[in-house]
Point group: C2
Chain length 335, copies 2
DNA sequence: TTGAAAGCGCTACCAT
DNA sequence: ATGGTAGCGCTTTCAA
């Protein structure tokens, strides 16, 4: 049986409250000699405070909940790493829950975590609503990461998707491309919409026409990317560059391009988004927009802990800058 | 403020202990009418038991700790997913800690998790010792996954590395290769040793000579794989097939092979290990030994929960079977 | 079938 | 500077 605070108090010949004072209130009045005796007893008994008992009393668990669609996706696992790094610096740990992108699981998980009395939630998931309204209503601390809630209020840490899309298009235009297509993500998501918007704005900036002929809406995965590329070739066979809304889509596009007997970047320049580790290993290595994922996770946890601690926030949201990783899938326009 | 069991009891006009009985001991004697009244009160107040208070009383947190070197490595994140799936089925959640392969962080983390009173630990990390001895001494529940402890006692869930290596070599031999090299992992790890042993045994099975000329010891990463391949080419330029101890090593080998102006699989057949998602995207897609990672994580959590619940275990360890995913990096011997 | 009460280990308030 | 004590919310034993 592990030693309790009472054991320490008995051994040191003091009251448990004194032990607690020594251990917790660094700046509080305790005679040096008493402190010594107590620390010695702690050492002898190898005493570790019981976090559960402390939590019950203080009403803080020093535990964060993080809800993620798919931890095996490096995108999210790097977010988690960032969050964990910040949390651990402040003495917090994180309960991680994977939703497999299922809304029911997501809501159940949020409830589960709250019942466990986690001090706050980091939400990296797509759709939250019912559970969320309760949360904001009751003033429960939570922070969105990689997603900026539209309807619901809430703090967030995101990357600038409009800027990211512009980086991609600027690059392609600089290489001489004018017929640039976009395979967008789902347009019911803020991410999908923002990247499309960035694409549109960048074309406009460069005096290039925007046309829905050159846009195909896709899901955020490889297979959907493949089929969307086929559809694009049907609609607009003359494009010379494609900006894909994320890397898996871009990988699907690659397959479709090769099937058509075309070369990358010889015939088609291709840009992805997120810069997952895998894309630098592709042939050719993919040019992609990199998000500061670790930093996003870090800042989200940091922000959440500030909210929990009642520290004032300078801002409700943090928007981080993406940057373009240029690789071999993009090249100067032929001719 | 959230409702407590006392609020429910008051509303239902009963004692808190009766509420507790209704909520927890499904099979216990409670008059149907009372139960109804209580459930109604629970509903009205939207009562959720406070897990912290319950944990303090029952001495179980229904929380598992999982220690992982690097969650952004898909190898580990899939292990985690499996563990989380099993845990969540049994009403457990998992606190995940990332160690970045740093021993100090690892030990601190284990201590942290124990102080939090997690009911048990799943250890996917490389080196644990000091902290571990305490754990086994005090009968604290823990399970190793993907690693079978040598010196320390302990339950484990691993894949059969000797078998996996044999699968790789059998395949290469079947393709007509006889000069098969092995770039091994670190030989101070059980994983590295076991794969080397499988390589040696398989050669013997096929009546092929084993020689240290054809073995280079490497670290488990891409760069080390690259340098090890260079060393191999120096020692044994005539090899026609290479079995790499894991996928990152194999990727490093690829780079070295291409630099030498050789083709895969034309000149050199190459087999990796772990079958990370990325390897099917390489050019050529890599033949690799696949481990049932999700299942390993699942079984590890399941085993741990059994230990926690005091259920008897049929066995101290579970060894799962790998299988070979044949792709285009291996081909029949020329000539 | 239900109630009363103790107590898990800790902190924080109030005394002294 | 330190001790005493109440109580966080729950479960569980004992009694009725």
């Amino acid at each position: 049986m592990a030693a309790t605070i009472k054991d320490v108090a008995d051994l040191a010949g003091v009251n448990p409250s004194t032990v607690s004072r020594v251990l917790n209130n660094a700046g509080l009045a305790v005679k040096e000699e008493t402190r010594q005796r107590i620390m010695e007893a702690v050492r002898i008994l190898n005493y570790k405070p019981n976090a559960v008992a402390r939590s019950l009393r203080t009403r803080f668990t020093q535990l964060l909940g993080m809800v993620i669609p798919d931890i095996s996706n490096p995108f999210f696992s790097i977010l988690f790493k960032g969050a964990e790094a910040a949390a651990s610096e402040k003495g917090f740990n994180i309960i991680l829950g994977n939703t497999d992108d299922q809304k029911a699981r997501e809501e159940a998980l949020i409830q589960e975590l709250r019942d466990r009395q986690v001090d706050g939630l980091i939400l990296a998931t797509a759709q939250v609503d019912g559970a969320l309204e309760n949360m904001s209503l009751e003033g429960y601390p939570y922070v969105f990461v990689n997603r900026r809630p539209r309807e619901t209020a809430g703090r967030y840490v995101v990357a600038d998707n409009i800027k990211g899309a512009k980086l991609a298009i600027d690059h392609l235009v600089a290489l001489g491309h004018t017929r640039i297509a976009h395979i967008s993500g789902p347009l019911y998501t803020d991410v999908g919409l923002a990247r499309l918007e960035g694409y549109r704005l960048a074309l406009k900036d460069h005096g290039l026409p925007f046309s829905f002929e050159n846009v195909v809406e896709s899901e955020h995965n490889e297979e959907a990317g493949y089929w969307s590329a086929l559809e694009l070739f049907r609609k607009s066979p003359e494009v010379t560059a494609i900006f894909a809304a994320n890397d898996p889509i871009a990988i699907g596009v690659m397959t479709a391009v090769y099937e058509r007997g075309l070369e990358i970047p010889g015939d088609i320049s291709l840009v992805g988004y997120n810069d997952l580790p895998v894309v630098s290993k592709l042939r050719p290595p993919l040019t992609s927009v990199r998000l500061p994922l670790f930093e996003m996770g870090y800042k989200a946890a940091e922000m959440l802990i500030k909210i929990i601690s009642g520290e004032p926030l300078e801002q409700d949201g943090i928007v981080l800058e993406p940057r373009l990783m240029v690789r071999e899938s993009t090249a100067r326009m032929k001719g």
